[in-house]
Every structure is written in C-alpha cells, then in structure tokens.
C-alpha cells in the first residue's frame, strides 16, 4: 500500500511544483521551485505535519526536496533536544550529511567522467 501512496504523494508534490512554474510569472525557475520546496518542507516539518506524510507515503514524501527540508528541520530540532542551543547549529547538516556528501561527490565525479554535450 505504501507503494501506491509513494506514487500518488510524490506525484502530487511534483504537480505543486509544476503549477508554481506554469501559473505564476515566468521568472519562477526550477531553482525557485527547489528553494521553495526545501524551505516549505522544513517549515511544515517543524510544525509537526510532515512526519505523518512520511509515515503514509514513505519515499513519496522523502524523495521530493520537501523531504530534504524535513530532514534538516528534524535534525536541528533533535539537535536542540540532545545538545541544547548548539544542536540548532550542528543537527541539521548532520542529519542530511549523507545526501549532501553523495550529491557533492557523485556530482563532482560525474562532471569529471563525462563530456559536455552541445
């Protein structure tokens, strides 16, 4: 059942991104979509509404960039729980470290290994 919801919720989040680009001004670029999604995910997560979506849809909620924001926000909040104020500084990136490092390393290697196409 989680496979079904992964498809539906993941697809629906992408539809929101598509509508943001199509129905607002032409200056709403993919970069704006990604930035909006990561911040929106962090805010929705902070007020406690994102975890239920993750429980329902699994990858449908964690794979879109809102899930990245969720990971950062929960990391910062759990950091505060464990280490106090310093945790707000260390928790977010600690939680997202695997994704960030994978993106930098694989991105760098891909940029080296492949030739740009025209």
């Amino acid at each position: 059942m989680q496979f079904f919801w992964a498809f539906v919720v993941g697809g629906a989040l992408c539809v929101i991104g598509q509508l943001l680009m199509d129905l607002t001004s032409y200056k709403f670029t993919p970069a704006h979509v990604l930035v909006t999604f990561v911040s929106a995910g962090a805010i929705i997560s902070a007020v406690g509404l994102y975890q239920p979506l993750v429980n329902l849809a699994g990858a449908g909620a964690t794979v879109p960039l809102t899930g990245f924001g969720h990971l950062l926000a929960q990391g910062a909040i759990n950091g505060v729980k464990q280490h106090g104020l310093l945790g707000a500084f260390s928790g977010g990136i600690t939680a997202a470290a695997a994704g960030i490092t994978a993106a930098v390393v694989f991105g760098y290697l891909a940029a080296l290994a492949f030739r740009p196409r025209s």
Binding site: Q2, A6, F7, V9, G10, G11, L13, C14, V15, G17, Q18, M21, D22, Y26, P30, A31, V33, L34, V35, V38, S39, I43, A46, A57, G58, A59, G60, T62, V63, P64, L65, G67, F68, G69, L71, A73, A76, I77, G79, V80, L85, A88, F89, G91, G92, I93, A96, A98, G99, A102, A103, V104, F106, G107, Y108, L109, A110, A111, P116, R117
Partner: protein
Amino acid sequence: MPAIKQKQLYYDMVKQSAPKPRVWRNTFWAFVVGGLICLVGQFIIVFFRTRGLDVNEAGAATSATLVFLAAFLTGLGVYDEVSRFGGAGGIVPITGFANSMVAPALEYRAEGMVFGVGARLFNIAGPVLVWGIVTAWVAGILYYFFR
C-alpha cells in the same frame, strides 16, 4: 512615442507572443514522472530495509543511490530528457537536485576545476542549501525557546 508607452507596448507584444504553457499536459506528466521516481525510491528503501538498515539509514542510503543514478544519467544526457518530458516531475525529487548540480558543472567544465566544476556544482544547490539550512536553524532556535 514616449518611452514609457513604448515599453508598455513592448510588454504587451511579448505577452501575446510568449508561448502559453500547456498546463494540463504539463501537470499530468509532472505527476507521472515525479510519482515514478518516488516509486523507484520506495523500492530502494524497501531493498535497504530488507538488508537490515533502520528507517533513517535506509532513507539516507536511498538518497545517496538516487543521487548517484541521477548524476550518472545526467552525464549520459538522459536526465535532461526526463526533465524536458516531466517538467517539475524531474526537478522536485532529489534526482532533480543532483541534476541541477551536475548539469552546470559539466557545461562549464572548460572554465577549469575550481571556477568551472567546483563553483558551478553549487549554482542551484548553493541557494537550496542556504534556504534549507537557515530555515532548519530557525526551526531549531524556535524549538529551543518555545518548546
């Protein structure tokens, strides 16, 4: 003709001739492509869970796997087709984030390893990290003071 009026006239002309996005078609394909990428992610999560990873570990491993696939497919030039076809369906998932790093880095490789690849990797990922980290930090601070 006064400059302001000319400007207005120009904007009207641009508005008329700019292509109207085919909203329904775009929405449909964004849903299908985005949904499929998340479905693949769900399969990868279940795979890692059966290998004994806990929920958080499986999530992190899945992100890393999807990022690897997206970087590889971007290098091959396949992912650009996914984005062209699926619009936001190829942008919103973490694969789109990886694509936004590799594509400019690859394109500007001629500018060198530092200002070409090194800097361009963060063309779009930079703003995303800035916004994500600041928002999460604010959430942590608010939690500290108002828990």
